[in-house]
């Protein structure tokens, strides 16, 4: 170990003695490592933003639906009660859609009516701005109450101060006066949004009021929406739900009736795509690292030729093959490692710079670059490996010189 320290010292002194050359040699490594760090930083930063925006939309959401339209397989209220008692479940709701029309002061609007259960309030990630969500008793009574989005309230009434107002909607020929009980906050700025057209609004109403429209009690649902608790594994939750449904509906072991759509699947697809893109660009950056490594080898070979006499002197003074080899190897590793460290710093600086430029230009795309300790260690380790790999050949060449030959040359 003590000897290695001496070789490192020798290598440092030589690098210091050839500052410009050492820096130029490092440049290839600096560019390679900084581009990898830059790309990983921006890629991870973008992934974090997309992931968090997506989880705002539907983290933990699972949809279980019947893949068979036979009556016996529809999901019933009894099923839903049982699902609510399973582990890891925060909320359960059905979700049906109806279409209606409204004549408002500002003209005719299409109304997307989403019919849900009281638990639905947990699915919404934005929260209520004014008023409240409809409650259990309104739900049980099938009252025509609704919540409406902030933007839609402004479209219809020109204000968000609409709690208590009524929206007369024509639902398939039946006129229903929906009383507004709450206004949902508009979604924060995000580049993923689900706006319908200008001339259409959405309201959320108790599913039980469907009987007002159809005049019948509804107890068969095609699908059920489940919100898993924050720390629960959505796949396990989905499994327990389908298992229970299979039991309740006496599904045979070899039949696959209940299907699952898990929001985590979408998230992992998006993540996979971002990872692949990051990987491909990183591979391209790795090529520049490889070229940088060849540059290091090239300079080290020149250095061996130039320093033949020095090698001869060292050998005549008792340096062994291994000592010369370690000295030259230490030099190339220090050059690449220093280049790697400069590259890491430069990469982080560039990523931060680009992120601040992006957020200055378009705040909705704002992200924080996320390089991660792992990536930094990998980059540092990789640059030293490049140094060892491309340093071995010149170091061997130096170490093998015979002292008489080396001393004879000038």
């Amino acid at each position: 170990m003590v000897q290695i320290y001496e070789y490192v010292k020798m290598a440092f002194s030589n690098i210091k003695h050839n500052k410009v050359r050492s820096f130029l040699t490092m440049l290839g490594i600096i560019i390679g490592i900084s581009s990898v760090i830059l790309i990983v930083g921006i890629g991870n930063g973008a992934k974090n933003v997309i992931t968090s925006q997506m989880s705002d939309i539907g983290e933990g959401q699972i949809c279980v639906y019947s893949g068979d339209s036979t009556d016996t397989y529809y999901i019933t209220n009894k099923d839903i009660e049982k699902i609510k008692k399973l582990d890891g479940i925060k909320a359960v709701s059905v979700q049906d859609g109806m279409q209606g029309k409204v004549q408002a002061l500002k003209g005719d609007f299409d109304v997307n009516i989403t019919c849900v259960m009281p638990d639905y309030k947990y699915f919404s990630n934005t929260g209520i701005k004014e008023g409240r969500f409809f409650n259990e008793s309104e739900y049980n009574a099938g009252m025509p109450v609704c919540t409406i989005g902030e933007k839609d309230a402004i479209s219809l009434f020109g204000t968000t101060n609409v709690v208590g107002m009524k929206i007369p909607v024509d639902v398939y020929g039946t006129n229903i006066n929906f009383k507004i009980v709450g206004v949902e906050k508009a979604k924060s700025d995000s580049f993923i949004s689900f706006d319908y057209g200008e001339k259409s609004v959405s309201i959320v109403v108790p599913e039980t009021m469907i009987r007002k429209v159809y005049g019948v009690e509804i107890d068969n649902f095609y699908a059920v929406y489940i919100l898993a608790q924050k720390d629960a594994d959505t796949y396990e939750v989905a499994n327990s739900v389908t298992k229970m449904l299979n039991n309740n509906h006496k599904v045979k072991a070899d039949e696959d009736i209940y299907m699952v759509e898990n929001f985590s699947d979408y998230m992992s697809i998006v993540n996979t795509v971002i990872n692949i893109v990051t990987l491909i660009i990183s591979l391209i950056a790795a090529i520049s690292l490889f070229v940088g490594g060849i540059g290091v080898m090239n300079i080290m070979l020149v250095s061996v030729t130039e320093r033949t006499r020095e090698i001869g002197i060292r050998k005549s003074l008792g340096a062994k093959t291994k000592s010369i080899m370690l000295q030259f190897l230490a030099e190339s590793v220090i050059i690449t490692l220093l280049g790697g460290i400069i590259g890491i710093i430069l990469g982080i600086a560039c990523a931060t710079g680009i992120a601040s430029i992006v957020s200055a230009i378009n705040p909705s795309l704002a992200f924080t670059p996320d390089v991660g300790v792992g990536a930094i260690f990998v980059a540092a380790a990789f640059s030293s490996i490049v140094g060892i790999f491309f340093g071995i050949y010149p170091a061997k060449k130096a170490a093998k010189l015979s002292p008489i030959e080396a001393l004879r040359r000038n």
């Binding site: 020095e310 050998k315 003074l317 340096a319």
Partner: protein, 242 residues
């Protein structure tokens, strides 16, 4: 006490075959501890090859070589490095200092390869530089020193590790007469302190400093005389004068 250097029937043959060159052709040589020997010969005589052999920089084609009781001729590369490090202090014609390193760093080099701890290294190197009168030049680089000073650094480097043999190859070849005299004075002083000095030169005047002069020609020892003794040719000449 055994001899310091014992060479028997040493041959060094380059290009074995029809065009072979016998650089050394059956050398027998014994050097005892504390001797001051000059090996003299014209260029091409084989004196440099002999110096490479004595200095363990090269291995002979045949023959035996004992250095300080160690059989050298069959050693591997790394073992030769070790022997050079422990047994021999080289002084070269071209000084052979490393230009990036200061005087003291140059002197420390053989000690680094001998794994001497840093504090001890600096102590030994400083002592060696003081001995050659360069205590004011310790942090100078070779290009900031005169030829004579550089050669004195080289001598300090050869001394620092206190090897049994000091092997000087044309140490004054690149120096003016004043510096040459200084260097020879130092070598003589080292000898008077009991060190073994082997001097390789083509210059009879320099060789005359030594106690024993070995003349070499065509790879063979032509004569081997102690100071005060007369060579065969001297005697012949003397005989004619009488």
């Amino acid at each position: 006490m055994s001899n310091l250097i014992e060479i028997r029937d040493m041959m060094k043959i380059y290009n074995p075959g029809e065009n072979e060159v016998r650089a050394l052709d059956g050398i027998n040589l014994t050097v005892e501890h504390g001797e001051f020997v000059a090996i003299v010969g014209q260029s091409g005589s084989g004196k440099s090859t002999l110096m490479n052999m004595i200095g363990c920089l090269d291995i002979p084609t045949s023959g035996t070589y004992y250095l300080d009781g160690k059989n050298v001729e069959k050693l591997k590369d790394d073992q030769l490095s070790e022997i050079r490090n422990e047994e021999i202090g080289f002084i070269f014609q071209g000084f052979n200092l490393i230009s990036n390193l200061t005087a003291i760093e140059n002197v420390e080099l053989p000690l680094i390869y001998r794994r001497v701890p840093a504090a001890k290294r600096s102590e030994l190197s400083t002592a060696a530089l003081i001995k050659v009168g360069l205590e004011h030049r310790m942090d100078h680089r070779p290009n900031q020193m005169s030829g004579g000073q550089q050669q004195r650094v080289a001598i300090a480097r050869a001394l620092a590790a206190a090897p049994p043999v000091i092997l000087a190859d044309e140490p004054t070849g690149n120096l003016d007469s004043k510096s040459s005299k200084e260097i020879m004075d130092i070598l003589r002083e080292l000898h008077s302190e009991g060190r073994t000095v082997i001097l390789i030169t083509h210059d009879d005047g320099i060789a005359a400093t030594a106690e024993r002069i070995i003349r070499i020609m065509d790879g063979k020892i032509e004569s081997d005389t102690k100071a005060g003794e007369k060579t065969e040719s001297d005697m012949r000449m003397g005989g004619q004068n009488e």
